[in-house]
């Protein structure tokens, strides 16, 4: 077995040192009824060639985004990832290190976490950010728990433009934690009256922008109304590239920002691993969940970094911790940080603009098809189409033609006849004129 260095004679020597007659002696504490003498009913070990062949066979049954005109979004976004990102994250020292609990020999990880926190704070317009959560949806759920702690209230109001799975995760988490979640009706046109839903037990309102249907939400009046009633505004973004084009949540008055960082550096990965972004105003820093990296000095006065404010966390605070989270998305943070570093100010804003323009051109072309309308006046790189027939079978028919033509709203919110014909379409910088033309022609054909 190529991964196991002990030889049979090593094992014999080591058992002798231990004073055990056989390996079974070392398992003597296992109750007899639970000791298994035969191997389990699974295949035996295999070489690289065989394993690679098996997994390649599975991979080949999928239609990869790179092999099709691709227009899916709905919380997961595809962008070109510069080659150096994946090269650098595979450096052994990043890939195969643990959580930086020994800072003297973990400055590499700690410094990039500090840089990551800074980038997230800058992009979101918030004071501080943590070293990441599992994904955007769990970050959203944690933001609601944090708002409850900070305000000593219990109720969260979720916008009808929040990603349905973020809503589901937040509802599940809050239900078990004893919080109350009130979700507004689904708002495909981007209009709803959240302000009138706020009352004296409202800990926070949770509003996504660009929202699930692609609408850009003005958070300013919402922040003002929430603050007037002592509630917090939690802003959510599933496509952080949008922050290169639109007013940041911090500038609009958000108290907590959460988001999905996957679109920068991480890739699609069929839904995971992803990268939860979590930022807040400084005043809330001790209520934050997750790891925080901070600057300090060493015994010689040299600048260095450590994990800090740990007394919030489960390994010290146990049942009184701000969260049970222990892992972060370390390597995904690194990918994000490298991608954003490569882009820089000029690249980030230009990439955002290219995505926006790609979406404008696509929306114009698609709404030229008879019976197809766009619900959005304003959007970033994703918008909602109303088709003349249910969108799910249309998307399947497009897939049969080799085109990944968006996400039917009914995939995430089934059983609502008002939403059945809606299709979420996302554009990005990798779409070519030929991709768009193929999509438009195929959709025209499927709808004909």
């Amino acid at each position: 077995m190529r991964y196991l260095p002990l030889t049979q004679s090593d094992r014999t020597d080591m058992l002798r040192t231990i004073g055990a007659a056989s390996i079974d002696d070392l398992f003597a504490d296992v109750p007899l009824a639970a000791r298994r003498s035969e191997p389990l009913d699974l295949p035996p070990h295999q070489g690289e060639i065989e394993v690679e062949r098996m997994l390649r066979t599975m991979a080949a049954k999928n239609l990869a985004a790179c092999d099709a005109p691709f227009f899916c979004g709905a919380g997961a976004y595809r962008h070109h990832i510069p080659a150096s990102v994946d090269h650098l994250i595979q450096r052994s020292e990043f890939l195969t290190s643990y959580t930086p609990y020994q800072p003297e020999i973990s400055q590499g990880t700690l410094q990039y976490l500090f840089e990551f926190q800074t980038q997230v704070a800058m992009l979101s317009g918030m004071d501080i950010a943590n070293a990441s959560m599992y994904d955007g949806a769990t970050a959203c759920a944690e933001a609601v728990l944090m708002a409850n702690r900070a305000t000593k209230r219990r109720t969260a109001i979720l916008s009808g433009g929040l990603h349905p799975q973020y809503r589901a995760v937040t509802e599940t988490t809050s239900h078990f934690a004893g919080g109350i979640v009130r979700a507004m009706a689904v708002a495909p046109d981007g209009v709803e009256d959240i302000i009138n839903a706020i009352d004296d037990d409202t800990a926070c309102i949770v509003v996504q922008t660009p929202d699930f249907f692609g609408h850009l939400r003005d958070l300013r009046p919402l922040a003002e109304a929430a603050h007037a009633r002592g509630a917090l505004l939690v802003a959510v973004t599933t496509e952080p590239l949008a922050l290169g084009a639109i007013l940041s949540p911090g500038e609009m008055g958000a108290d907590i920002f959460v988001g999905e960082g996957q679109s920068l550096g991480v890739g699609l990965n069929f839904g995971g691993p992803y990268l939860g972004l979590f930022a807040a105003r400084s005043a809330l820093q001790r209520q934050m969940p997750g790891r925080l990296c901070g600057e300090t000095v060493d015994a010689q006065g040299r600048r260095g970094y450590v994990l800090t404010l740990s007394a919030r966390e489960q390994h010290i605070r146990r049942e009184k911790a701000t969260s049970n989270i222990c892992t972060n998305s370390g390597l995904c943070c690194l990918a994000f940080t490298i991608h954003v570093a490569l882009l820089g100010e000029a690249g980030f804003t230009q990439l955002a603009l290219l995505n926006h323009q790609s979406a404008i051109v696509l929306a114009q072309a698609l709404t030229g098809i008879p019976g197809v309308t766009c619900l959005n006046e304003y959007f970033f790189n994703e918008f909602t189409l109303r088709l003349p027939k249910p969108s799910a079978p249309v998307v399947d028919a497009l897939a049969a033609k080799g085109i990944l033509g968006g996400v039917p709203v009914s995939r995430l919110i089934p059983g609502d006849p008002n939403l059945e014909n809606l299709l979420l379409v996302a554009a990005n910088e990798t779409n070519t004129d030929a991709d768009r033309a193929a999509f438009v022609a195929a959709l025209r054909e499927v709808l004909a």
Partner: protein, 514 residues
Amino acid sequence: MMRQGRPTAPGKAGDETLTTFSGHRGLDHEEPLLFERGAEGRCGVDLPAPAKMANRLGDLARPSTIGLPGLSEPQVVRHFVRLSRKNYAIDSGLYPLGSCTMKHNPRLNEKLARLPGFADLHPLQPISTVQGALELINTLAHWLRVLTGMPAVAMSPKAGAHGELCGLMAIRAALDARGEKRNRVLAPESAHGTNPATAAMCGFSVDPIPADARGRVDLAALKAKLGPDVAAIMVTNPNTCGLFENDIIEMAKAVHDAGGYFYCDGANFNALVGRVRPGDLGIDAMHINLHKTFSTPHGGGGPGAGPVVFSQALAPFAPLPFVVDRGAGFDLVEFDTDAGDATPFGRMTAFHGQMGMFVRALSYMLSHGADGLRQVAEDAVLNANYVLASLSQDMSAPFPGPCMHECLFDDAFLKGTGVTTLDFAKAMIDEGYHPMTIYFPLVVHGAMLIEPTETESKESLDQLISVLRSLAQAAKAGDVTRFTQAPHYAPRNRLDETRAARTPVLRWRPAKEE
């Protein structure tokens, strides 16, 4: 005559206190923050020029700059390569962190996870276009069920603690379905901090179970605490002292008789894989850290993956989504309405879980096979016992062996030396090792928990043993500054954690312009 080239000769030893002009020291480069390196007009990507067209951003267009630095690709690459060199890693040395299972991460797994057919799939593509991905999840689920002897598995939890949360939510849902309000969870004092934190997130209060003199759960004390308000026990097995809970079947029976459930923290499954099935121990739910037992890389703290196996009693409550094999193809159940007789407690994550980790874990499992995985557990246990036996004279072990996959020492052997567990750990850094886990479990004074894993050779262990032995002897001989000022040979000396916490600086900010 050419007189330019001269051979170098060793000469005299260098002056270790030399201060360099650059601040660098040979291969060890000081590296500023990205934000201190940028220049306007520089960029690490080449993008096409945007068209001239009106935007559709309304009055929400960003009016301000973000503040990101401009860097070219070579600068970015050098920056991160230099940072990487300040990290310890499994690939560069033994990483004996108890409870963390720092084993070799095969590169085949990395290669396969990057196949576009897995890595470049959107989670909401039509089901017909992701049949191979669903097959992979289903296959991994099958391996996990067979290895644990449990009938069901929830694949979506994103890490160990997330898996714990999944398990306790299922327990809460099962109790709700029975119409019972049980609010107490029993967990040993030696538990990982995530256990009580998770229980609290589910609204349970946590009641500690004392350990007995053998470092195991005190069965009589456990039984005395059971009652109609106990929802579950949460027990790590092997426990955090590296010991198998030999009364575990009795414990399961006792909690079941009292109407509660048995949650097992599976962080230490590496000791058991292929040899002992949790399903044979009476467990109702257990998370499996794919990043420990099944070698997906720790990546400096994540991402992990924490699938949870369930007993028949809890299986109906497992969260959405899950993969089903419909014979004609695989399908993904994403809503209650499609879940048949099952009554999922809700959803834990957007999309379907840590696919990238699933590919790596399955690649690892297929590579080892049933025989190899059994050997993994045996070698992991053998290696830990070898370290324990070899050091029992020089260091102090609070509990006699055999241990399972990790061995525990306390600081009794340092008593009166002026050297603490922390100092001892930092001195290991100077010797080229990552320290073991220290001060955990909390039930042992000055704990040092060593988990060598099965991927260390005997030669590598022998070297570790001789270094630890030498350090123990040096401490006893009064060579105190070796320890209290350690590490001497790391990119940084000890850092001021008090300062970091008193006046937190959590991000870079530009210097104020005057």
